[in-house]
C-alpha cells in the first residue's frame, strides 16, 4: 500500500490544492511500480495551513504554476523513494518514453515495461534482454495505434554514472542491434540506477515511470505477510 501526506505552510485555496495534488500525482505517485499491484488503501493527502503570511494562492495567482511545479517535483522525490525501497529491489529504473503521438500512450507504454515481471527479473539478473522490453511495448493497451510504429521505434539503455558511451542502442528504427557490446551492457546493468529509453518517433509527447527489479527477496518478504 502507498500512503503519504504532504504538508505546507503556504495558504492555498482548497479547490486549487485539489487541482495541484491531482496534477502532481499524475506525474509522480501514479507513475511508479514495484510489483504492478494496486492496494485497497492507497491515499495521498495534502494540507496547506497558511502559516506563512502571504496572499492565498489560487488558480489565477502569479505563483500558481511555480508552486504546482515545485509540488510536482517534490512529489516525484517522495514517490521515487518508495520505488527505491521496493521490497528487496537492488535497482532503481527510470523508464523514459519520448516522442510519442500522445502523452497517454507514452505513459501506457512506460507502465507496461515497468510492470513486466520478465523485464524486472532480467534487470535483476543484469541481462540486456531487449526482447522482453519490446514485447512489453507490443502488448501495451494503447489508446491510439498511431503512437506505435514498429519501423520507427528505438530502445536504449542509458548509463547513469556519466561514463561513455552513455547510450547503448538495443533497437534502432525497429531493427535489433545484434552486435550489442555485451561488455558495455554488463557495465551499465551493474549500476544501481538504470534508465531505459524508448524513442517512439511518432510525436512529441513524453512520459516517465519509475520501477525496480524483482529479486528473490521479494518472494521471501511476501510469501508469509499475513500469517
Amino acid at each position: 500500500t502507498l500512503l503519504g501526506f504532504i504538508v505546507t505552510d503556504l495558504p492555498i485555496e482548497s479547490k486549487t490544492l485539489q487541482k495541484m495534488l491531482r496534477h502532481s500525482t499524475s506525474r509522480s505517485f501514479n507513475c511508479i511500480s514495484v510489483d504492478g499491484d494496486m492496494s485497497t488503501n492507497d491515499t495521498i493527502c495534502m494540507i496547506a495551513n497558511g502559516a506563512v503570511d502571504t496572499p492565498e494562492i489560487n488558480e489565477n495567482s502569479q505563483e500558481f504554476k511555480q508552486v504546482q511545479d515545485q509540488v510536482t517535483e517534490f512529489a516525484q522525490r517522495l514517490a521515487q523513494l518508495v520505488v527505491r525501497d521496493g521490497e528487496g529491489s537492488t535497482k532503481f529504473v527510470t523508464v523514459n518514453v519520448k516522442n510519442s503521438y500522445s502523452f497517454e500512450d507514452a505513459k501506457i507504454i512506460a507502465e507496461s515495461i515497468s510492470n513486466s515481471m520478465l523485464v524486472k527479473t532480467a534487470l535483476y539478473g543484469q541481462d540486456a534482454n531487449w526482447g522482453r522490453i519490446l514485447c512489453a511495448i507490443g502488448y501495451a493497451k494503447l489508446n491510439d495505434l498511431k503512437s506505435l510504429n514498429v519501423d520507427k521505434i528505438n530502445v536504449s539503455f542509458i548509463a547513469t554514472d556519466n561514463s561513455e558511451p552513455r547510450e547503448l542502442k538495443l533497437i534502432v528504427n525497429g531493427v535489433p542491434q545484434l552486435n550489442i557490446d555485451e561488455e558495455r551492457a554488463s557495465e551499465i546493468l551493474a549500476l544501481n540506477d538504470l534508465e531505459v529509453l524508448v524513442n517512439l518517433g511518432t510525436g512529441k509527447e513524453e512520459a516517465q515511470f519509475w520501477t525496480c527489479d524483482l529479486s528473490h527477496e521479494y518472494v521471501t518478504i511476501n510469501g508469509d505477510y499475513r500469517s
Binding site: I47, F74, E87
Partner: protein, 208 residues
C-alpha cells in the same frame, strides 16, 4: 543468477536533519498492534489558527476501497477540504474489507482525534490505515494509543518527531520516507514542503 548482496538503504535515503513547515506538530506511539513494540500509530495536527487550513487527497481506484479511504473521502466531501486539522494513521492493519464494522472503527478513530482537538461539531480529521487486509482493527489498542498521544503530549515539531511519525506508518518498508524542502515564492516569501510516504510492496497506484 546468484542472490545479490542486500543493500542497507537506510543510511542512503533517510535524512539526518531537516526544517519543517510552521504550524504543524506530529506525534507517534507503539500502540501494540505491531509486534516488537514498533511505532504503529501517528497523528499530525495543524496548530496554525491565523486562517483555516485547506486539504486535498487522491485515493485508490481499486473497487474494494478500504474503510479509511471511504471515511476520509466523506470528510473531504462534507467540508470541501476546508479546516481539516489532523490526519491519524495506523499501520499493521489496513481496516480493509471489514464492512460496516470497519467503517465504524475508522469513524471512531477520527471522532477521538476531533474530541481531543475540541472539534466536536465539524469533522476535521482524515484517517489512513495500512497493513493486512481482511482483519478488524484492534480498536482497544488504537483508541488508547490516540488518547495517550494527546494526554501525554507526545507531539513535537523537531526532526526526531517527524522521523518517528514516518516510521510509524511503515509496514515492510526497509526505511522511512521523509522529505523536506524550503522554496521561495516570486514575492520573496519562503515556504516549506514536508512529505512522508510509506510503501514497499503492492505498489502500482492509480489514484484519482
Amino acid at each position: 543468477n546468484t542472490t545479490r548482496k542486500v543493500i542497507d538503504k537506510y543510511p542512503l535515503y533517510v535524512p539526518k536533519s531537516g526544517t519543517f513547515p510552521k504550524g504543524f506538530q506530529v506525534g507517534s506511539i507503539a500502540s501494540g498492534v505491531k509486534k516488537n513494540n514498533a511505532l504503529d500509530l501517528g497523528i499530525i495536527i495543524n496548530t496554525n489558527k491565523s486562517r483555516p487550513s485547506s486539504a486535498a487527497a487522491v485515493f485508490t481506484t481499486n473497487k474494494f476501497k478500504a474503510a479509511p479511504v471511504l471515511t476520509s473521502k466523506n470528510v473531504l466531501d462534507s467540508t470541501n477540504g476546508v479546516a481539516i486539522n489532523a490526519i491519524v494513521v495506523n499501520s499493521g492493519c489496513a481496516n480493509s474489507v471489514t464492512g460496516e464494522l470497519g467503517m465504524q472503527d475508522a469513524k471512531e478513530m477520527i471522532d477521538i482525534v476531533n474530541e481531543q482537538l475540541g472539534d466536536k461539531t465539524s469533522p476535521s480529521t482524515l484517517v489512513m490505515s495500512t497493513g493486512v487486509i481482511g482483519q478488524r482493527l484492534q480498536m482497544n489498542k488504537i483508541s488508547e494509543g490516540i488518547k495517550k498521544i494527546f494526554q501525554e503530549n507526545k507531539f513535537g515539531s523537531d526532526f526526531t518527531s517527524w522521523l518517528n511519525i514516518s516510521k510509524s506508518i511503515c509496514t515492510t518498508d526497509t526505511f522511512p520516507k521523509l522529505v523536506t524542502s524550503k522554496f521561495k515564492l516570486l514575492n520573496g516569501k519562503e515556504y516549506t514542503l514536508t512529505g512522508l510516504a510509506k510503501g514497499a510492496g503492492m505498489i502500482c497506484p492509480n489514484m484519482a
